[in-house]
């Protein structure tokens, strides 16, 4: 299979994502510049972390107007798997592909450290290699990762199993400790932690490998989502 890792001006985890995907799956990975308009040649799409456009207005607010985002939307609607990591998650919420918003951490600081996550949904194509309730270790590195949404939206996310991961401890003030959410159809996942930084023992965790491997498996096995 072939992956696209989108590069926005200011993306800075694009190379890390490419390296992690290669390591986890051996698949072909292509960095795709944000001016591209066609993502049909790719089987899975990753929006990496970073500070697109400096995150100057709001995180992800300007990147969502990039030409490539129309293609991301189209492929998401077609059922392709889209993974937004950190800034990628923020872009997906700004673009309305995922509900809610990510705002300044409640402690007002950027925070980079290993985080323990609880797997809340193990039936999505992104999380099928984890077990529900399992605790995985994946680092966070963000200043604006506090997930918020209206209570009704949060209730619906919980009811529909669309909360993919929560933080085991309160790291940033996120509503219901949410670390990652799925779209309604289950083919778009956004999460603040960085699975691409948890793919080798020396990184302190290899738990991120299974996320990329799960995506690979879902695509190779032609799991049709939705």
């Amino acid at each position: 299979m072939r992956w696209a890792v989108i590069v926005f001006p200011g993306s800075n985890c694009d190379d890390d994502a490419v390296a992690a995907i290669t390591r986890a799956t051996g698949d072909e990975v292509v960095k795709v510049w944000h001016q591209e308009r066609d993502l049909r040649p790719y089987d899975a799409i990753v929006l990496p972390g970073g500070f697109s456009y400096g995150d100057y207005l709001r995180c992800g607010a300007i990147a969502r107007f990039s030409p490539v985002m129309a293609a991301v939307r189209a492929e998401a609607e077609a059922g392709k798997l889209v993974l937004g990591i950190c800034n990628g998650f923020q872009i997906l919420t700004e673009a309305g592909l995922l509900p809610g918003a990510l705002v300044r951490n409640h402690h007002l600081q950027f925070r980079c450290e290993m985080a323990e996550l609880v797997v809340e949904n193990d039936r999505s194509p992104f999380t099928s290699l984890y077990r529900r309730g399992e605790r995985v270790r994946i680092p966070i590195a963000h200043g604006e990762g506090r997930y918020i949404a209206d209570e009704a939206v949060l209730d619906e996310l919980a009811r529909a199993g669309r909360i993919a991961f929560t933080y085991a401890a309160d790291v940033n003030g996120s509503a219901r400790r949410i670390a990652g959410v799925l779209n309604e159809r289950g083919n778009v996942l956004g999460l603040m932690p960085h699975p691409e930084r948890a793919v080798a023992a020396w990184m302190g965790s290899e738990d991120g490998l299974r996320m990329f491997a799960a995506i690979h498996r879902a695509v190779e096995e032609g799991v049709h989502v939705g």
Partner: protein, 94 residues
């Protein structure tokens, strides 16, 4: 066509916790400004634009806010308009 100056204020919806506001409030209290409360911190944006009328200018500002400047999931906004004065930027040095 006339030139306008828009002053836009954007702030977090009341339902969203504003940690910056709280931090500033605490800082003010610790400096002895104990009577201060309800501190909220948002963004202030100023821009120049061209429009035939104030109504048209307002429509433009609203459109920009809704499209880019404001995320309605977390924020809300208000703005005012006035004719652009030659030395409008000079206000900044007041």
């Amino acid at each position: 066509m006339a030139t306008w100056k828009a002053q836009v204020r954007v702030w977090l919806k009341p339902s969203v916790f504003d940690p910056q506001g709280r931090a500033v409030e605490q800082a003010l209290h610790s400096l002895g400004y104990t009577g201060v409360g309800e501190v909220r911190i948002g963004k202030y944006m100023e821009l120049r634009l061209e429009a035939a009328s104030e109504a048209e200018a307002a429509a433009q500002v609203r459109a920009m806010c809704d499209a880019v400047l404001v995320n309605p999931v977390m924020e809300t906004y208000a703005f005012s308009l006035e004719p652009w004065a030659k030395d409008a930027r000079a206000e900044a040095s007041a």
